[in-house]
Amino acid sequence: MLKYRLIFEKTDTAVFISHLDTMRTLQRIFRRADIPVKYSQGFNPHPIMSVVLPLSVGQSSLCEVLDFESESALNLKELPGRLTPFCPHGIRITDARLALGKISAIKWVEVTGTLYGLTQSPDLAALCGSGATITKKTKKGELQLTLSECVRQPELSANADGSQTLRLFISAQEPSFNPELLRQVLGYARAEYRRVSLRTADFEGWA
């Protein structure tokens, strides 16, 4: 039994497909492409597949990770080309590999964001260096996150059309950090965020 990993993009209209629907959509993509996935045992068998680090609806990504198991040996080179034609608009499989690297080794996500309606220009670096906190709502209640733990190397630059481009690293897990939370300190009207790459604790590329 082999564990595989796909890297895929989620852009354009596909950013509005929720995490659960993305899972279901991917399962169907595999069935259309006739690529065998291992099913769980039991009363209600389901394909063994998982999309790690759920992405919020409305955010795009160039580096989503899907892990799955298959009992057949698959040709990794061919896999993206076999799957992509069966994807809805905005989903594209960019890479296939064996699932060797540990998911737990992902510590940072490189994110870019286009911010609209940003009225003040806060000193993000100073904010992240201080003990400032952000409130995150969870199922169990509210959680206070220290910015310095969740955000690294923020850079803000102005665009010609009046919007701002934000580039930063956010904590991927433990704690997971949704860039939308930055609205609390930045006070923008609207932002379009995009995951660009996944990084290890040392900000190295994660494979």
């Binding site: 354009d12 209209t13 596909a14 509005f16 497909i17 929720s18 659960l20 629907d21 279901r24 959509t25 399962q27 169907r28 993509i29 595999f30 069935r31 259309r32 099913y39 009363f43 068998p45 609806v57 409305g58 069966f86 994807c87 809805p88 608009h89 905005g90 609207r190 379009e192």
Partner: protein, 690 residues
């Protein structure tokens, strides 16, 4: 190709558009590929881009086929993150058909939410069959849910098609699928969101032509004033003729009235503005007079050769969960039974089957294309399909190899179907459904529903001993001639079902779950009960209480439908043209998506009726005279009114009528001349040969 015509916004921003365009494609020749074009346009900050099928030369000399007017998709990017389930409003699903250069654009409008509309097989058929035509693009439009509707209104986003984001007002046709009376106010809301005047006479230009189709059009009168024309019968048969005629008139710069005059000559097309209705002092219809040469009767069109008819095996696959999240094949159209209350049973006549060979091919193709986990076998009564065993044998091996399953709705429960379900579903044992419709044999004879108590108990006995334990039973209250004994017979039958479980069940520790549901009978046009009065909602509730007292049985749950919703359904089902202003008023008072009980308000309807000087009970409770002119009599479903009348008389004496396979009752549908139908062949003289 027409010369490019730009709207004022395009004109100002044309240069900007070119830059945006070039930035999105490294290789300019790839711009012709519409996936790339879509991507460019999705982010293109231009509200409206270019008139239909114009070609615009770019700097490098590549001709780019442009979209029609598009809405500003940057606004969509702003508002979509704010609403529930935004994937319903984006399009871009796998399998959608995008035809940017089509000469004729049809907005196929479904007056309910995406998850309902995408579950509708009829819409998939019309979408696929229209798009299979050269130069015609059929694009989907669904009603927005409340939150998205609010954002659209606030941000000035008009109702748009999912495929190319073309405003409905820019399409050539807005074609509405009308399957359920409670969708009428949603139709008005969608016309409003599209920025179109509600009434046909207020829309001067030829396009967009507002067209209606579907089962509600067998009495289109309540909505007649809003529509330019109705397609009576099966759309896959007629639509293309209407599309082509419109295209010719549009290209020639013809007027709407000239087009409608021509369109009324197409068999199956009903142009309501060409008919005038006069009323008697007592409110009944005095006369329906066709103007000029409009036909006195419009007879429904059907697909005559159903086996070779178009079927969509490659429809869009929603990227979000929908109500019936599966693909389907249609075993047959029509029904042999002729239950006297059932509009579908009469309206889809004659019965036409597809061969198992065709269905196996279509089923396999649909599963392979969609990647869905479930294939539904659809029909009004699947047990009547002559090749059911062969069909399942042909489908099951491939489905199980792909890990997909069969779903078999509307199957009669007997030994044969239980064995079939065991094979199709393995260990899964879904609930079994019975629709005896009436509790006593006498009343079942009245409605010509030929299921006996013995059938039900024998079927359930096999089911319970085979490990099934969930049963759902559907009944109607308020059927013509129903007495309290008939109501109580429902409880008696339920008790017998419980005893059957007690004696047959293998595992008595696992209690059965028996659900009894009653709905409020709504008399429908073109049925044997089209003259019948609906009982009052108070009387319905009394019968509900009567039954409820008797249904305090262990493991039995009783659900009953809301009375008020069914009263309005009855009003609209048999209404006349005087209801158009009532519908407008209800919509203006906030009526929209009223099929969803949380959006329904009876008071709103009562107020609108009172203010229009109309009596609700005149439409719902009144028993029509057998010689009365009925508002829908311009429309013929192929079944003769004299046959319906005969059935109504037989119902009074509880005399049953044989089903179409036992013997032909000469309803008239044979004259629609379907191939491979159950009907006797028609000779040249028009008389049916047995």
């Amino acid at each position: 190709m027409n010369s490019p015509v730009f709207s004022y916004l395009d004109f100002i921003r044309r240069a900007n558009f070119r830059e945006q365009f070039a930035a999105f494609s490294k290789n300019p020749r790839r711009m012709l590929c519409h996936a790339t074009l879509r991507r460019a346009l999705f982010f293109c900050p231009i509200r409206a881009i270019c008139q239909a099928h114009a070609k615009m030369p770019c700097k490098n000399g590549v001709n780019v086929v442009l979209f029609t007017h598009m809405i500003d998709t940057t606004i969509l990017n702003e508002i979509l993150p704010l609403v529930q389930k935004p994937a319903r409003y984006t399009g871009g699903e796998y399998g959608e058909t995008v035809k940017p250069g089509a000469a004729l654009r049809v907005a196929l409008c479904f007056p309910d939410l995406y998850e309902i509309g995408m579950s509708n097989l009829g819409c998939r058929i019309l979408y696929g069959s229209g798009n299979a035509e050269d130069g015609i693009a059929v694009e989907r439009v669904f009603a927005p849910d409340k939150d998205f509707r609010e954002q659209m209104t606030k941000n000035g986003v008009p109702l748009y098609t999912l495929e190319t984001k073309t405003p409905v007002s820019e399409c050539d046709i807005a074609a509405f699928s009308l399957g359920y009376e409670m969708c009428f106010t949603t139709v008005l809301d969608m016309l409003h969101l599209a920025g179109l005047p509600l009434y046909s006479e207020q829309r001067d230009s030829l396009t967009p032509l507002v067209v209606g189709g579907g089962v509600c059009c067998y009495n289109p009168e309540p909505i007649a004033d809003f529509f330019d024309l109705f397609i009576i019968g099966e759309g896959e048969e007629v639509n293309t003729e209407v599309y082509r005629l419109l295209e010719r008139h549009r290209n020639a710069g013809g007027s709407k009235s000239a087009f409608l005059l021509e369109a009324a000559k197409i068999p199956g097309v009903y142009v309501p503005s060409r008919y005038e209705t006069a009323y008697n002092a007592n409110g009944t219809v005095a006369a329906i007079s066709p103007r000029d040469d409009a036909p006195a009767t419009v007879t429904k069109r059907i697909v005559r050769d159903f086996d070779s008819a178009y079927f969509p095996t490659a429809s869009p696959v929603p990227s979000t969960e929908i109500t019936h999240d599966r693909v389907s094949v249609e075993l047959f159209r029509g029904c042999i039974h002729g239950c006297r209350f059932c509009q579908a049973g009469y309206a889809y006549r004659p019965l036409r089957e597809k061969s198992a060979k065709t269905l196996i091919r279509q089923g396999k193709a649909a599963i392979a294309h969609s990647g869905c986990e479930e294939l539904g076998l659809l029909s009004l009564s699947s047990s009547d399909y002559t090749e059911l065993a062969a069909l399942c044998d042909g489908l099951l091996p491939e489905l199980s190899q792909k890990g997909a399953s069969l779903s078999l709705p509307s199957l009669r429960v007997d030994r044969f179907s239980l064995e079939l379900m065991r094979r199709a579903l393995g260990l899964r044992k879904p609930g079994l459904t019975f629709a005896p419709e009436a509790g006593s044999q006498r009343l079942r004879d009245v409605i010509n529903k030929k299921i006996t108590e013995e059938d039900i108990l024998n079927g359930l006995s096999s089911a319970f001993s085979g490990g099934w334990n969930t049963v759902k039973l559907y009944f109607m209250l308020g059927l013509p001639g129903e007495t309290d004994e008939d109501v109580l017979a429902i409880a008696e039958l339920t008790r017998k079902i419980y005893w059957t479980w007690k004696s047959a069940a293998t595992d008595k520790k696992r209690p059965p779950r028996i659900t009894v549901s009653t709905s409020f009978f709504v008399p429908k046009p073109h049925t044997a009960f089209q003259w019948a009065g609906q009982i009052t909602p108070e009387e319905y509730m009394r019968r509900v209480s009567l039954l409820r007292e008797e249904l305090h049985i262990k493991n039995v749950v009783y659900n009953w439908h809301d009375a008020e919703n069914s009263v309005i359904e009855a009003l609209l089902a048999r209404g006349d043209r005087r209801l158009s202003p009532v519908l407008e008023r209800v919509w203006r008072d906030g009526g929209n998506l009223e099929g969803w009980s949380e959006n329904f308000s009876f008071e709103r309807w009562q107020n609108a009726m009172t203010d229009s000087g109309l009596e609700l009970s005149f439409y719902t409770e009144r028993q029509r005279g057998k010689d009365e002119i009925l508002p829908w009599q311009t429309i013929s479903i192929g079944v003769d009114a004299s046959f319906l009348l005969k059935e109504a008389v037989r119902a009074e004496t509880a005399a049953t009528t044989p089903n179409c396979r036992e013997s032909c009752s000469a309803c008239g549908a044979a004259e629609l001349c379907a191939e491979n139908s159950v009907c006797p062949k028609i000779t040249a003289g028009g008389a049916a040969n047995a």
